[in-house]
């Protein structure tokens, strides 16, 4: 199964950088599904899931950004108390470490979507599927 490609960008922490990133994507008609910024003083890392990661990666690179792609999992999470617990507990019990995670709610949402970067994708996928957690496909993310 094709993994979800997250786009990661290295950006300096100075005015206008976010604007440049979003303008570049919007000019290429790439839609951002979810985004998070990890900041570390004078620089930060923007991570995002977009509808067309290949095109997003290409235009950002052409515009001189330091950019990479990372395989992540997108799992559906009940938008109720305990929704997150069910997922991370399953991973924890299976010995899978979560490097980072961020969530978003879709318009169709009775469910939220959780983006996870883990140290062992295959193991995470098996553990979550075993518990009946639904893992979104690339096509589903594209179609949101």
């Amino acid at each position: 199964m094709a993994e979800i490609k997250q786009i990661s960008l290295f950006v300096e922490n100075r005015p206008g950088r976010m604007a440049k990133v979003s303008k570049t994507l919007s000019d290429a008609d790439v839609n951002i599904r979810a985004l998070t910024i990890a900041e570390a003083g004078d620089f930060g890392v923007i991570r995002m899931v977009v509808d067309d990661p290949e095109r997003g990666y290409k235009v950002l690179k052409e515009n001189g950004f330091t950019v990479s792609t990372t395989d992540v999992l997108a799992v559906e999470m009940k938008d109720t108390p305990g929704g997150l617990y069910e997922i991370v507990n399953t991973l924890g019990e299976s010995g899978v470490n979560v490097d980072y995670a961020y969530a978003f709610v879709t318009t169709k949402a009775e469910r939220a979507m959780l983006i996870l970067r883990v140290d062992d994708l295959a193991k995470a996928r098996a553990a979550l599927s075993g518990k009946g957690v639904k893992i979104a496909t690339k096509e589903e993310i594209q179609a949101i």
């Binding site: 290295f10 300096e12 570390a40 620089f43 890392v45 990479s68 490097d99 970067r117």
Partner: protein, 434 residues
């Protein structure tokens, strides 16, 4: 075939070479005493006369000449000949003070050209080569110097000068440049621009040789350039005061051959002024033995290096100076410790996650000097985990400290944000108000 341009001179037995140097030293000392009011006065104040110089070792009796002497005697007060004998001027940029003017007789240009003809031959260039001269043409000595030298050996010169980088790369392809001469930082920029144009210097050009200088550069940078392009990168040395670019390494890449028939080279302890042993670091001092419009006696050129007097594997007997360790002018004093930008370069270029372009910013906060080293992150060095980036910062800091003995802040910046230079790279911004 890599032969010699002037086999008799380049392979002259050491003893014979020393005799030649001794004769030429005596003549040039007599010559400046007779022709230059400046040197006559300088010799008198030092209590030395031409007759006191009987052997090479007597050179230590002669007074030094410094860059400030050239500035104080601007424009032509250091000349030993009237203007009618001068066929060319070159003028230094004067970024740190008044500019300095150098004049050349026809014979001076001839000797300069011969010096480079020997050098270019020693790195294997000849009639079949196309030499792209990407040094600035004009008042700066780089462009015209290499131009004449490359023409002399029968190569075809492509005088692109600096700038118009995309055009340089197109011409490099279209005319089949086999060698390029420019600053190493400009060549790194060319590699980057070529990549953006979809041109691989390794696969899409005939380039085999680079002649890089006019700014100090490290062995680590040489390795990066050679690994990225497959060319052989050679160091070239010389400054306008002693004519311009004059000397290069040979194919052995084991020191720069400084032609002994043209120059007497000394390496002195900067503190005591005493000669240091072969292999020990010191300040370079040149006496021009065969230059007549503006000869210089014991000129403190301001560069630190190490000398090797043993003949080279290539068969050339003339002394070699090892890679320039730094210019005394470029030295920063940070919290009382001497820091050469070239040391910073050699640390950074050894770290694969660091890009080819970098800069040093020095500030003073209260009583404390703060040195910040700004480096571009390469694509392969980029991890989207903050912890990885923080540990990279720490690693760079630690390696800098290991070499410099002072702590430096490290800033990771986006690639393409540090200014690229066409000529000599400006690596240091010193914001301290002294």
């Amino acid at each position: 075939m890599s032969g010699y341009w002037d086999p008799h001179m380049e392979r002259m037995p050491l003893k014979e070479l020393r005799t030649l140097q001794e004769d030429r030293l005596k003549s040039i000392v007599r010559y400046v005493y007779d022709h230059s009011a400046f040197y006559r006065q300088r010799f008198k104040s030092a209590g030395v006369e031409p007759g006191d110089i009987k052997s090479l070792s007597d050179v230590v009796k002669l007074p030094f000449t410094r860059k400030t002497d050239l500035r104080d005697n601007y424009p032509t007060g250091m000349f030993s000949l009237p203007r009618s004998e001068v066929v060319r001027y070159h003028v230094s940029s004067g970024t740190t003070g008044k500019p300095t003017v150098v004049g050349y007789t026809k014979g001076d240009i001839e000797a300069w050209t011969e010096s480079l003809a020997r050098a270019l031959t020693s790195i294997g260039l000849g009639r079949d080569d196309v030499v792209q001269v990407g040094y600035g043409y004009g008042l700066f000595t780089g462009g015209l110097g290499l131009h004449y030298g490359a023409e002399r050996i029968g190569a075809a010169v492509l005088p692109t000068s600096t700038g118009s980088t995309e055009r340089q790369i197109e011409l490099m392809q279209d005319l089949g440049s086999t060698a390029i001469a420019c600053t190493p930082s400009y060549f790194l920029h060319m590699i980057e621009v070529a990549e953006k144009m979809g041109v691989s210097i390794r696969n899409d050009t005939q380039l085999k040789t680079g002649i890089f200088g006019a700014e100090p550069w490290s062995l680590e940078t040489r390795k990066r350039i050679e690994d990225a392009t497959g060319i052989n990168a050679y160091d070239i040395y010389g400054t306008s005061e002693i004519s311009g670019p004059l000397f290069t390494e040979c194919r052995e890449k084991n020191g720069i051959h400084v032609w002994g028939d043209m120059f007497l080279t000394e390496v002195l302890d900067p503190k005591t002024g005493e000669p240091v042993e072969d292999g020990e670091r010191g300040e370079l001092v040149f006496t021009t033995l065969h230059k007549f419009a503006m000869p210089l006696i014991r000129y403190k050129i301001g560069d630190l290096s190490v000398m090797e007097s043993e003949p080279c594997e290539c068969g050339r007997t003339h002394p070699r100076i090892m890679r320039i360790l730094g210019r005394t002018d470029d030295m920063l004093i940070i919290r009382g410790i001497n820091v050469f930008p070239s040391q910073v370069e050699s640390v950074l270029m050894n770290i694969p996650e660091v890009g080819d372009h970098w800069e040093i910013i020095v500030d003073r906060k209260g009583p404390l000097d703060i040195m910040t080293v700004r480096v571009e992150l390469t694509e392969s060095g980029f991890s989207d985990k903050i912890a990885d980036l923080m540990s990279l910062k720490k690693k760079i800091s630690k390696e800098l400290k290991g070499v410099l003995n002072i702590a430096a802040d490290v800033d990771l910046v986006e690639s393409g944000t540090i200014p690229r230079s066409m000529g000599k790279a400006k690596r240091v911004t010193d914001n301290r108000k002294v």
